[in-house]
């Protein structure tokens, strides 16, 4: 490390060792000696773990390409992805996917357009931008491509193509709109449009159907998204209540949060499955999927409240004092000054909560018998064509891949967002 000492004034400053990775200018031999065989112990570790990783890689390779019998996935792909969703209405799902892609593209475009107007945008050449996108989404793209090839029918290809096209078009349109001088009519119109699209699509896809026949991976995604959206207002209210100056309110919120955080989600789901019927009149007792959403919402609200509380505590007192000084009422202090900053600070933590909720949706399948991905993947091994062949390994691997790709992409994006928001550095 002697070469890492640089003279700064008269004091030597020690620089942290930099991990140069495999692409260093000094030859491969030096790299190997430095990164694999620095000390005898290092050499032993390299040999042991190198052997282990070679064996594991070999096993994975043979399982994926040679011994794995993936026929069961191809045959049951629709069941795995959307369960017993009525075949006559699958088109609605495709329209919803395209609509959501357009919605996301519009938001991304507006944000970058605003940035460009404010002069804070990072101007990247097109090639760098494409490389950036590939770096972020290559794993997701590969899995989607795999699913499309596996599906083998033109429908999904058309849907994904249209979704990409819609996202691209609205991304450009949004960028153009965002760069224009803000015009009150356009701003209000856009805000209304953005707020109306998700509930509109929700009503469209559910009209006359209900979600009791939903299943597969779609149900996992739906449960997670629904619950996170519904729990958000409740969580914010609980967080505000826990920090409020009204002792009774504070006390009630604290008790609720601590009870829910102390109880396992699995037991709550079992309780809702077995005993919810006792607590509401029999005519009101909801269907299973609704019960699951209620439990997930009430459960996640407690965790969301703690996350938001962290955000509220990160707001300097000066902000509230400044709001008071300009004569805002307590409600306006909270809504206009405190909450916007607090919520921005906790976006990454909220995405973390969304990921864990998304993984927990498998519990609804175990506790309530909902037909979600994990349940489907164990159920299809009992089909007549595949019974008794020990195919659970293949189906579980497929389910794991589905969960992994979504959770991994979300957590990567959340880390990126964290860096861009500069949480903790401001």
């Amino acid at each position: 490390m002697s070469d890492a000492i640089v003279e700064l004034g008269s004091e030597p400053v020690i620089q942290p060792p930099v991990d140069r990775g495999p692409t260093t200018r000094r030859g491969a031999g030096v790299w190997v000696r430095h990164n694999l065989f620095r000390t005898p112990l290092d050499g032993v570790l390299t040999v042991v773990f190198g052997t282990i990783s070679v064996v594991v890689l070999y096993k994975v390779f043979t399982f994926v390409f040679l011994t794995g019998r993936w026929e069961i996935i191809r045959v049951n792909l629709q069941l795995l992805m959307i369960g017993r969703f009525p075949a006559a209405h699958v088109l609605r799902l495709a329209v919803t996917v395209v609509g959501l892609a357009a919605w996301g593209g519009l938001i991304a475009g507006l944000i970058s357009g605003r940035r460009a107007r404010a002069g804070t945008a990072r101007r990247l050449p097109l090639r760098r931008r494409a490389a950036d996108l590939i770096g972020r989404f290559w794993a997701l793209a590969l899995v989607v491509l795999y699913l499309l090839v596996l599906a083998g029918t033109p429908g999904p290809w058309i849907m994904v193509g249209l979704a990409l096209a819609a996202a691209l078009v609205t991304r450009i349109a949004g960028g153009w709109l965002g760069r224009r001088r803000p015009n009150r009519a356009i701003t209000v119109g856009l805000a209304l449009l953005l707020a109306a699209i998700p509930p509109g699509l929700y009503l469209y896809v559910l009209a006359g159907l209900g979600f009791d026949e939903w299943g597969g991976f779609l149900l996992n995604l739906f449960l997670a998204v629904c619950s996170i959206v519904l729990c958000f207002p409740l969580g914010v209210l609980l967080a505000l209540g826990r920090r409020s100056g009204l002792p009774l309110v504070r006390w009630m919120c604290t008790v609720y949060i601590e009870i829910i955080r102390g109880a396992p989600l699995f037991v709550l789901l079992l309780l809702a499955n077995v005993a919810l019927g006792f607590f509401v009149p029999t005519t009101l007792a909801p269907e299973k999927a609704t019960r699951a959403i209620v439990v997930f919402t009430l459960f996640t609200a407690a965790y969301m409240a703690e996350i938001v509380r962290g955000g509220l505590q990160s707001i300097p007192r000066g902000q509230i004092e400044a709001a008071k000084a300009v004569g805002l009422s307590p409600v306006r202090q909270t809504v206009y000054v405190v909450l916007p900053q607090a919520l921005r600070n906790v976006i990454p933590a909220q995405i973390g909560q969304l990921i864990s909720l998304f993984k927990d949706t498998t519990l609804a399948g175990i506790a309530m018998g909902l037909f979600e991905l994990l349940n489907v993947s164990s159920a299809i091994t009992a089909q007549e064509a595949f019974r008794g062949q020990g195919l659970i390994g293949e189906t579980i691997t497929f389910a794991a891949l589905m969960f992994w790709i979504v959770a991994f992409t979300m957590s990567r994006e959340s880390q990126r967002l964290e860096r861009r928001l500069g949480v903790g550095t401001r």
Partner: protein, 382 residues
């Protein structure tokens, strides 16, 4: 004469009115729910009290001598003990594995670093339930051999799809053994303290771990023979193993799934905490020529632990709560005992209320312990 503020504009009065209104709404909802419960229970003729605890359980817990006629109370206690067993073992193993992986992510060895990273990124993003199902259905029932050609390690450990059998003590009570261990532990602590004080006075190396450990081993060996304990080694007899202690396959699957899953989260905490220790500390350790292990063990890890304790405590709480998933693969923990007795006719609401109460108490006790540890480790400033 000062004019009094009218009541409807007095902030103190308004605050109480708002609070009472909110309390009234919440109370109304709770009373409504409770009223529904009592009427529904009365209609269905289901008791709402806790008398069911004395009824016979009429089911058996695998790996336990509890008879069918034992009361529900005893079955629930057995379930709680099973939960505690898997939680204590899981917390210890997950901490060790998580710490190793967390250090591995910062290793200077390229292969170790990559393996640790892949492990964390893969395991963290897959639901625990998948590991459980895979652990039981794929590993235990698919990979492990039949009892007749069980894997036998040195004639001591027998592993098959009937579970794991290990050598265990015989010829005395478990309490006696625990007592010996407790005495040994106390002596270890006293000797280590004495060695440290000697070291402080004279400057001689303390070697407190070596001395304490030796004393502990001596106490254990003496106690073992004094109380007449012997080893019982497992052997295959027909369709089962005899002797030793048998660990149920469901315990096996639950334990490994919990450890592998929780360790991936603990690894990230450990990595973050190590990175939060100022670099100067490690460099100072290098400067006084400590070895790599000494640098970690005496300088970096103690300081990282201080940062890591609160999030570690959260992970322990998660592990305890996640252990309820053992019910999904037939491990008789508290949750599965509760659902089974409900299936056998115990009233659902009291059983689940009791179960929740137990889990909440477990969580509170754990967070209390973590808080105490945190307070003891915290830097005392000024």
């Amino acid at each position: 004469m000062t004019r009094r503020v009218p009541l409807w504009r007095d902030v103190r009065v308004l605050r109480w009115i708002v609070q009472l209104a909110i309390v009234a709404v919440v109370a109304a909802i709770v009373i409504w729910l409770y009223g529904n419960y009592t009427t529904n229970a009365a209609e269905a003729n289901i008791p709402t009290n806790f008398d069911f605890l004395d009824n016979p359980a009429s089911f058996q817990i695998t790996g336990n001598s509890l008879s069918q006629s034992a009361p529900v109370r005893d079955a629930l206690i057995q379930g709680l003990l099973n939960t505690l067993r898997v939680c204590v073992a899981g917390v210890i193993a997950a901490t060790i594995l998580g710490t190793l992986v967390g250090i591995g992510r910062l290793s200077s060895n390229w292969i170790v670093r990559k393996i640790a990273t892949v492990y964390v990124e893969v395991v963290r993003n897959i639901p625990l339930a998948l590991f459980l199902v895979a652990g039981l259905l794929v590993i235990v029932l698919g990979v492990l051999p039949n009892i007749n050609d069980a894997w036998d390690f040195l004639g001591l450990v027998i592993l098959s799809n009937r579970g794991l059998a290990v050598p265990w003590y015989e010829g005395g009570s478990g309490r006696g053994l625990l007592l010996i261990m407790l005495i040994g532990g106390l002596l270890w602590w006293a000797v280590a303290r004495w060695r440290r004080s000697v070291s402080n006075r004279t400057g001689a190396p303390a070697r407190s771990g070596l001395w304490g450990g030796l004393v502990f081993v001596v106490v254990m060996v003496v106690g073992w023979f004094a109380f007449g304990y012997t080893w019982s080694v497992p052997a295959v007899e027909g369709r089962a193993t005899a002797g030793g202690m048998r660990v149920d396959p469901s315990f096996f699957a639950l334990f490994f799934a919990l450890v592998i899953y929780t360790a991936s989260h603990i690894a990230e905490i450990v990595r973050g905490s190590i990175q939060a220790v100022p670099l100067g500390q490690a460099e100072a350790a290098d400067a006084v020529a400590l070895s790599g292990f000494q640098k970690m063990w005496f300088v970096v890890l103690p300081q990282a632990l201080r940062i890591a304790i609160p999030p570690l405590g959260n992970q322990y709480l998660n592990l305890i709560k996640n252990s309820s998933l053992g019910a999904a693969i037939g491990f008789y923990d508290l949750t599965l005992v509760a659902t089974t007795t409900v299936g056998n006719g115990s009233p659902a609401v009291p059983v689940f209320a009791l179960t929740m109460l137990v889990y909440i108490s477990l969580s509170l006790v754990t967070s209390f312990i973590v808080n105490v540890a945190n307070r003891r480790m915290a830097l005392v400033e000024r």
